[in-house]
Symmetry: C2
Subunit: 349 residues, 2 copies
């Protein structure tokens, strides 16, 4: 009797868990109105023609720890291409073991974001690249020191000259940033969702399609839309209900720091969701390590809805289709220092 | 008149600088008695058959910062394959921004060293690999935490199972070290000196051959011999004349800490010299940034001779022939964390 009852209960639960609306016949057409597949080639970026020489130089710079004052951190330290383009830390550890203020966003597909950083304060990747190199809690370097470092190595001078032909003084902080942007523009990860949008109905399972339908119907796609399913607009975190301070720390007012407009208090760029299954922990605070929990928090804070557990599972299943094929990156061989290379400084400034 | 005098002076200096003994006809035969070219295949290592699966796993582990307690440091942080297999720091910066006690040696060709570390306290690379992961000033992790981390990721379990077939519990700290050793055994950098030893007389310039002849005649090759031109014996630093405390700090007694034998005070493993042009700063203390200066210090401290500047130049030219072709390394894509993965700890223990 006890066994029978258990079986019945389990069966009821299973039925409840399975109860989803059928996948709408026009789901793909609806999705194509809201999202866009990744292109088959890397995109053009403003004021920075992408060439193979620039990509190669940018890759070297991206992996070069000598861009940091200490010689310890490269761009790849916090945007690690081996681990989803981020560092899997709540917030990054930088110069002098200081902790950064916000979770490190992935460098993968970042070229498709409308602006960079959680508060969108950099208009593109070449503007972004200059930030962490100079931030005291990150790489703690100065443009002068970076340029002196790069100019001290003949191979770098050669590479900059090839990447920026015809320029009288090609080794500049701006050109460094442009080369890094060119490399980052190649960091594109086509995923099952792209195959689906491109017409392959078999690229997603029924559960994943149910999740996509929910993602649209529940309203997630209002903010997480476009090519990166996010990264293209600013919204208050806690639109309907503010999450607790453990997730939304009071002292970080987000975009308010950029615009000084009261309306922008606790406003952040909607996180781009490609490869989100690889980029825990979540939110600008990096306080949530579990994707299901993050989706549930979004439900209450942004949609005002306690999403059913089974629906959260479906949405997470859909998010799994955004996990893409990682770019093939041959690890660079960097130029050796010379007697003119400034010595690294491990001091806390 | 002034111009003429300057020309004469320059000419005298040039003549002086060129005055070297002619390159002996049997130089290559003599060199082959002392040194050995790198093999064309990676070497066998004891108790650890090398397979492609083990190499691939080892590469992933070598680049995985989650082997450190903080999630910040991988093997590659201090043995960076982009910069000569070391970190270009006096001594490495590790957990909690602590500085390590000795200069990080290159991982390149390290498989050919008779023992590992500056004091030879690890008999091979699988023993070595376990050290920094547990060292409080480096990666500050524990074997239990490492194994829990690796076991939490199904992909790692799959890779360990493939690399250690037939083992009931393949994900172990020992197997981790074996896989890293297998990967490191592939980090071999054939150089111009190997081509010369293999019979290509044109692989070295006359100046480089003069440097090689001096390297042998002056006595450098007494300690820096064999396949790695070092890494195969222990010698007092300051055999003839102790360098100052700025180069040889008093508190680091080298191999004495391993053997507790008075004779081993300030005894260190002769540094292997392959790629030495890429691995400044020099000596266990990392206090000397210039290779010419390092060679000159070796002259006075080990040979009791003030080497002529032109001879130092020749020896440095020879050392340049040890700069090899770097291995092609495709940057790995690492498994993503799961809910079971221990969280990184940025705390200083």
């Amino acid at each position: 009797m006890k066994i029978l009852l258990a079986t019945v209960t389990a069966s009821v639960i299973a039925t409840a868990a399975l109860a989803a609306d059928p996948v709408p016949a026009d789901l793909r057409a609806t999705a194509l109105d809201i999202f866009k597949p990744l292109p088959s080639t890397y995109p053009a970026v403003s004021d920075n023609p992408i060439t193979p020489e620039k990509i190669d130089l940018g890759k070297a710079l991206f992996f070069d720890p000598r861009l940091s004052a200490s010689g310890v951190f490269s761009c790849n330290s916090c945007h690690n291409l081996a681990t989803g383009g981020d560092d899997n830390l709540e917030t990054s550890i930088g110069h002098g073991w200081q902790k950064g203020p916000r979770n490190s966003p992935t460098a993968l597909n970042a070229v498709f974001n409308e602006a960079q950083f959680w508060d969108g304060r950099a208009e593109d990747l070449k503007a972004q690249a200059k930030g962490p190199i100079q931030a005291g809690v990150e790489m703690a370097n100065t443009p002068n020191q970076v340029v002196a470092t790069l100019k001290s190595m003949p191979k770098y001078v050669e590479w900059f000259t090839a990447a920026f032909p015809g320029e009288a003084d090609p080794v500049t902080f701006d050109n460094m940033a442009k080369a890094i942007e060119a490399f980052e523009a190649t960091l594109i990860t086509p995923a099952a969702f792209d195959a689906y949008l491109n017409g392959d109905e078999g690229a997603m399972t029924v559960e994943q399609k149910e999740g996509l339908a929910l993602f649209i119907d529940k309203g997630c796609a209002s903010c997480h839309s476009g090519i990166n399913l996010g990264g293209n607009g600013y919204y208050p975190f806690g639109l309907i209900e503010k999450p607790g301070a453990e997730v939304l720390p009071e002292n970080d007012k987000g975009r308010f720091a950029v615009t000084a407009t009261a309306d922008d208090s606790y406003v952040f760029r909607a996180a781009p969701l490609r490869n989100v299954t690889l980029t825990a922990p979540y939110f600008h605070s990096g306080k949530v390590w579990n994707l299901k929990q993050a989706v549930a928090i979004m439900g209450t804070s942004q949609l005002g809805e306690d999403l059913a557990d089974a629906d959260v599972d479906r949405i997470v299943a859909f998010l799994g289709t955004l996990e893409g094929r990682m770019p093939d990156v041959v690890y660079p061989v960097l130029p050796a220092e010379t007697d003119d290379t400034p010595l690294p400084s491990g001091e806390i400034k």
